[in-house]
């Protein structure tokens, strides 16, 4: 930008502050700007470190590392396939179960619940998000596991056993336990973002719907969902990011088994779960590198998911919906 063209510095076009230097402003701008810069530097720095440290694994096994099935710490042969699939399956089901519940809660809180109930219920839902994941994992192991094993999984097996997903023999730890725990984790995230979106829907739209004599359901379907849809989709993807990356709780309840199993009752494992379990016990440098390799894959997936959410929001903003 050239100093010869004074208009170039003013992008607001309108009022311009005096040219007198204000130290307070400068300091404030520097501090906030630096904070913003730091987050950018941090994400790049983390990505750089993860990929640098994961490089030996990719160098040794090639990019086949991603699709390779064996994970053998004794023979030093590593591949990410089973954990990648486990991560995708557990997160997929957590979202499929969690998103409708979360959106239903948010709709209830903004559209249907009596006013005196809205605050307390919203608070309770957000309290779920504050449960430390290690505590939730313990609950999954000690309380949920036996219930799944003795009641829910046998029932699913007896009534829906023709679906291969429910075909195995019941077990306390396994994919289903992890899915339920992850569902509990994503619900408050999606609920609270969705609720904020719904609250911001202009009153005139609701009034209009009311004036047309629409029912609650018709208002939700015709006004609320189209208006908040992209935001809800983005909220769901943020929830997905949480599910993809959860390590400790998953490691406690998923049963850490390799292989791809159709039955949801069977023990499985995820990228984050495997890292949490083996990082501190790694016997060889290559095992450590490969665990970081799992982290690199996970990082790429979660970054893609979050980018996806931002693209959705951006496109919606451009259309003027948000």
């Amino acid at each position: 930008m050239s100093a010869a063209d004074p208009t170039a510095t003013s992008n607001t076009g309108g009022l311009k502050r005096g040219l007198r230097w204000r130290p307070g402003d400068t300091l404030f701008r520097s501090v906030t700007g630096l904070a913003a810069l730091a987050s950018g530097v941090l994400i790049l720095g983390i990505a750089y470190t993860v990929f640098r440290d994961a490089w030996p694994a990719f160098h040794t096994f090639g990019f086949g590392f991603i699709g390779h099935a064996v994970w053998d710490p004794v023979r030093n042969v590593f591949g990410a396939r089973d954990f990648l699939v486990g991560t995708l399956i557990s997160s997929f089901f957590a979202i499929v179960l969690g998103a409708p519940i979360a959106i239903a809660i948010a709709l209830y809180l903004t559209e249907i619940a009596p006013r005196y109930l809205r605050g307390p219920i919203a608070m309770l839902v957000e309290l779920i998000a504050s449960i430390p994941s290690v505590v939730l994992g313990l609950w999954g192991l000690l309380v949920l596991g036996p219930i799944l094993d003795k009641h829910i999984e046998p029932w699913l097996h007896d009534h829906l056993g023709f679906i291969p997903l429910f075909g195995g023999s019941p077990s306390q730890v396994g994919m289903l336990n992890a899915i339920v725990i992850l569902t509990i984790m994503v619900v408050p995230i999606i609920t609270s973002i969705t609720r904020d979106l719904l609250v911001r829907i202009p009153g005139e739209l609701r009034d209009g719907a009311l004036a047309l004599g629409l029912t609650d359901w018709e208002t939700i379907r015709g006004v609320v969902i189209p208006y908040a849809g992209p935001g809800i989709a983005a909220a769901t993807i943020l929830g997905l990011g949480r599910a993809l990356g959860e390590a400790i709780a998953v490691a406690q309840v998923i049963g850490s088994s390799t292989g791809i199993h159709v039955s949801l009752f069977h023990a499985a494992d995820t990228l984050a779960g495997r890292i949490a379990n083996e990082y501190f016990g790694a016997a060889s440098k290559l095992q450590l590198d490969s665990l970081i390799g799992l982290g690199a894959i996970l990082l790429v997936i979660t970054l893609l998911a979050n980018l996806g959410a931002q693209v959705i929001v951006l496109r919606a903003e451009r259309r003027g919906v948000l």
């Binding site: 064996v70 994970w71 710490p73 094993d149 077990s171 023990a267 016990g281 060889s284």
Partner: protein, 353 residues
């Protein structure tokens, strides 16, 4: 001109702020490095296996010498990681250092400083007697080749036992663990198939079964699921009242892990290699009552350390005074045998500053 001046100022301020942040970070790192404390304190981290024993040592040792020892039971792998980074004065591990770990640790010594056993645990409701197993059958179960509790191979070992027609749920550790090392060390020595297909390590490629995190994770699954088989440190299994299987040793006797049986296994040690890496699983038949999954656990210390004298004194105390029954017996640890003690003391002499 004004703009440039403004931008320049802004950049300068930003640089100052950045420098301040970096300074704060590095100062933090530096102070953490120096925070090891004075010479009358020792900090250690590692195996959960020896934690109960070390906890009984700490007050006694402080009373005797005035030295404060802090021990964090974070697991063998984390212990090795911490001593490798020198954030503690000593590490502790149930598995001997792997070649990679030894190289990374850069001049570390491993000294066997305690001795106990790993129990094969099970939960089959309604059994009228204790379950008896032999190594190859345990290996077959963990290879996924024996899948029912009333399999002929198990029935043959347990005449008169009402074994049910029930699937066996195999439980193993999901985290890298010294207990796993001891268990698969045993399976490798009794089953050629295990040795060639799976092998030994702190974490292995399990052919079957579900993983529990930590001793507690495995114990919890075994205790609450009918039809399970697992493995735990013996003191942990006893404290949680889990059924322990009797295992046949080379002499043909079925033994359960107890002081006498572990002592017998340890007394088969005649020679100690320079690395101090000891394997006493599946011991020779000369000891009739030996329990076959007994193992040493190690303290890992750097050869060069600023606290050489303090550290040598503590380890020597642990190897001698610390082995007395008042500390070890209740926890089912066994005093380390003479040849190991001699080798340990010799190794300890290498520690200097």
């Amino acid at each position: 001109m004004d703009t440039n001046h403004f931008v320049g100022r802004r950049i300068a301020l930003a640089m100052v702020a950045l420098a301040a942040v970096l300074f704060a970070v590095f100062a933090g790192v530096a102070s953490a490095k120096n925070a090891k404390g004075s010479d009358d304190r020792l900090s250690g981290a590692g195996a959960t296996f020896v934690f109960p024993l070390v906890s009984t040592w700490i007050p006694a040792y402080q009373q005797a010498t005035g030295t404060q020892v802090a021990y964090a039971s974070v697991g063998s792998g984390a212990g090795i990681a911490q001593i490798t980074a020198r954030t503690v004065d000593f590490g502790a591990s149930d598995a001997p250092l792997s070649p990679d770990q030894a190289a990374a640790c850069n001049g570390c010594l491993q000294i066997p400083w305690a001795l106990s056993a790993t129990a094969v645990t099970y939960h089959v409701s309604g059994l009228n007697k204790q379950l008896k197993l032999i190594g190859p059958v345990v290996a077959s179960i963990y290879l996924g080749k024996i899948t029912k509790w009333n399999d002929p191979a198990i029935k043959k070992l347990n005449p008169g036992l009402n074994l049910p027609d029930k699937s066996i749920t195999v439980v193993h550790r999901s985290d890298g663990s010294g207990t796993t090392y001891n268990f698969v060390d045993y399976l490798s020595s009794v089953s050629p198939e295990w040795s060639s297909k799976v092998g030994r390590g702190v974490s292995v490629n399990w052919p079957t079964g579900e993983g529990g995190k930590g001793n507690a994770g495995v114990a919890n699954i075994v205790l609450s699921t009918d039809g399970t088989i697992g493995y735990n440190e013996i003191s942990y299994a006893l404290a949680n009242k889990i059924n322990v299987a009797a295992l046949q040793n080379k002499a043909g006797m079925f033994t359960t892990p107890g002081i006498r049986a572990i002592t017998a296994a340890a007394s088969t040690v005649k020679r100690v290699p320079a690395s101090n890496e000891m394997h006493i699983v599946n011991p020779p038949a000369s000891q009739k009552s030996a329990y076959p999954i007994s193992s040493f656990t190690y303290i890992i210390i750097p050869k060069k350390t600023g606290k050489a004298a303090t550290l040598r004194k503590f380890v020597f105390w642990a190897l001698t005074e610390g082995q007395k029954p008042q500390y070890t017996q209740k926890l089912l640890f066994v005093p380390i045998p003479k040849p190991v003690l001699v080798a340990a003391e010799k190794t300890l002499k290498q520690v200097g500053s």
